[in-house]
């Protein structure tokens, strides 16, 4: 099944969730965060879609007060794939968690939260994963500034030039 058919299925069931663009992209589907959990359930359970494996979850800082999460899905049954993109504003970054649908999403979402501060609503174990729990800030955001001290240890600032 190609991305266009998948898009049509989603449009039929969740007409308000698909972000309509002037020219719809052919390799991904932009969605609004609101019904993401229900859409994900549909993507996994619909017999024509059966996206049983979540390949990758990538967070991006789009700089203009927007954060984006990209989900790469793949079906081991039908051998088709799709990319889902969900944008959220930086001041209220909240996306429904799909960790209950694809268990692999558990750590992927924790990592995205760790690096971008995007909150995954409904995640059952929502905490940092790679960084210490008391780390301040979200390192992969473009406006990230290193904290000055960590437990009394001075954190060296990034050097301007290579030495």
């Amino acid at each position: 099944m190609n991305p266009e058919n998948i898009l049509n299925i989603l449009r039929e069931r969740f007409p308000r969730s698909v972000v309509e663009m002037e020219e719809m992209p052919d390799n991904y589907i932009p969605l609004l965060p609101d019904n993401w959990f229900e859409i994900a359930t549909l993507l996994q359970e619909n017999p024509d879609l059966q996206f049983d494996s979540l390949q990758c979850v990538t967070g991006i800082d789009l700089a203009e007060d927007l954060l984006e999460v990209r989900y790469n899905l793949h079906s081991m049954v039908h051998l088709h794939k799709i990319e889902i993109r969900i944008s959220v504003p930086k001041d209220k970054p909240k996306i429904p968690s799909v960790e209950k649908i694809w268990r692999v999403g558990d750590w992927f979402e924790r990592e995205t939260y760790d690096m971008y501060g995007i909150v995954f609503d409904g995640h059952r174990d929502h905490r940092r994963i790679l960084l210490p729990d008391d780390w301040e800030g979200w390192p992969l955001r473009k406006d990230y500034e290193t904290q000055e001290t960590y437990h009394g240890i001075v954190v060296p600032k990034v050097k301007e030039e290579w030495e």
Binding site: D52, Q55, I60, R70, M76, L130, P132, L140
Partner: protein
């Protein structure tokens, strides 16, 4: 199991524990000897790979990919350059493709040797570990005469390779393969069909196929659960489609499909297949040709993004690269196969004894450098 009920005890395994294959901390809730809950804590080796990538040019990232999975560096280089080349629409010559496949498969053998050796050591077999390390060393010597490095190669570049093959390389590889092939049988007799090893691993830590897919477990671990899925065959990249090889899947010969023994067996079989691929590639390797031919002067992929996955020794190694047309990427995300395999640990290992948890962890073949990045 679970007949004797006592108080729950929390046991801390790691961060410095010989059987954790790196710096990994497991918080284990136990009831007597039986594990009721496992919480892995990772991040001790976090080196900000993805943050670094945003400030480096595309060619500067290649040495960083080496350091992610330091056991299978060639395969990491491979995954990254294949992704960038697809973005830039670069076709590399037959010779380069052949050399890349030879290196990737040799590295796969080296990686599996380490995986199986340390797995054996985890369950108490020390001797096979030394034998396997001895032979892994021979492969590292081959890499050393090619690019000077033994572990972190920086060998595959976008559009080519850093060096051509040295004089006499092909003969040396043939010599190694002729020596190594009979050794496999010895290892199997020594460890895989050893009664004690079978007792420790058969029927232990069974990972059912649907759970494996849901938890994103890939590579040999997925195949051991009975799913015939190999990106070299199913989503063929480079020139893998021109070689004939089998994809071994777990059959549950000693117990249940998807147990620890099957995970060992799949890796042992894969080494045989890799030997076959290397032999085929050596036979058709073009002699003439420049390995720098297709290398672009400036690496500036067009605006856009790509998600490309390749088969590393540990499973699906994915690179998500976003380019804005400038010399350095906007975002590089590495989807690590060991990361997802460790994520599935609690699903596999809960309900087993502490000693089984160590066996299960060994059978998953994780590399912490890749998990923490």
């Amino acid at each position: 199991m679970g007949i004797v009920h006592g108080e729950e005890m929390v046991l801390n395994i790691g961060p410095q524990h010989p059987s954790t294959h790196g710096v990994l901390r497991l918080k284990v809730h136990t009831d007597g000897e039986v594990v009721s809950k496992i919480i892995p804590y990772i991040g001790y080796l976090h080196r900000c790979f993805e943050k670094h990538c945003e400030n480096l040019s595309y060619e500067q990232i290649i040495p960083f990919t080496d350091r992610c999975d330091y056991i299978g560096s060639m395969n990491n280089n491979f995954g990254y350059v294949v992704a960038v080349e697809e973005m830039m629409d670069i076709q590399v010559s037959e010779k380069v493709e052949h050399i890349r496949v030879i290196m990737a498969e040799l590295n796969r053998i080296a990686s599996h040797l380490l995986a199986l050796g340390t797995f054996g050591m985890d369950v108490g077999a020390f001797t096979p570990f030394l034998y396997m390390f001895r032979d892994r060393e021979r492969i590292l010597d081959l890499f050393e005469i090619t690019c000077g490095a033994r572990l972190l190669y920086n060998y595959m570049w976008v559009g080519g390779l850093s060096h051509d093959l040295p004089v006499g390389f092909v003969e040396k590889v043939y010599k190694f393969l002729d020596y190594f092939e009979p050794q496999l049988k010895e290892y199997n007799d020594l460890l895989m069909y050893n009664k004690i090893f079978i007792e420790r691993t058969a029927d232990v830590g069974v990972l059912p196929p649907e759970v494996a897919v849901n938890y994103g477990v890939t590579g040999p671990n997925l195949r051991a659960s009975g799913i015939k899925w190999d990106l070299r065959k199913n989503e063929s990249y480079s020139i893998y489609d021109s070689f004939s090889f089998e994809v071994p899947v777990g059959k549950g010969q000693m117990g249940t499909i998807g147990d620890c023994w099957d995970r060992y067996w799949v890796r042992a079989e894969e080494m045989k297949e890799s030997i076959g691929i290397v032999r085929q590639a050596l036979k058709t390797l073009p002699v003439e040709g420049d390995v720098h031919e297709a290398m672009p002067k400036k690496i500036r992929p067009p605006k856009g993004s790509i998600y490309k996955r390749t088969e590393s020794p540990r499973g699906d190694l994915g690179f998500y690269i976003i380019s804005d047309g400038s010399p350095s990427p906007t975002r590089v995300k590495l989807r690590s196969p060991a990361f997802t395999a460790l994520g599935a640990l609690s699903a596999i290992a809960e309900g087993w004894m502490i000693s089984d948890v160590i066996a299960i962890l060994g059978s998953l073949d994780i590399v912490l450098g890749e998990i923490d990045r």
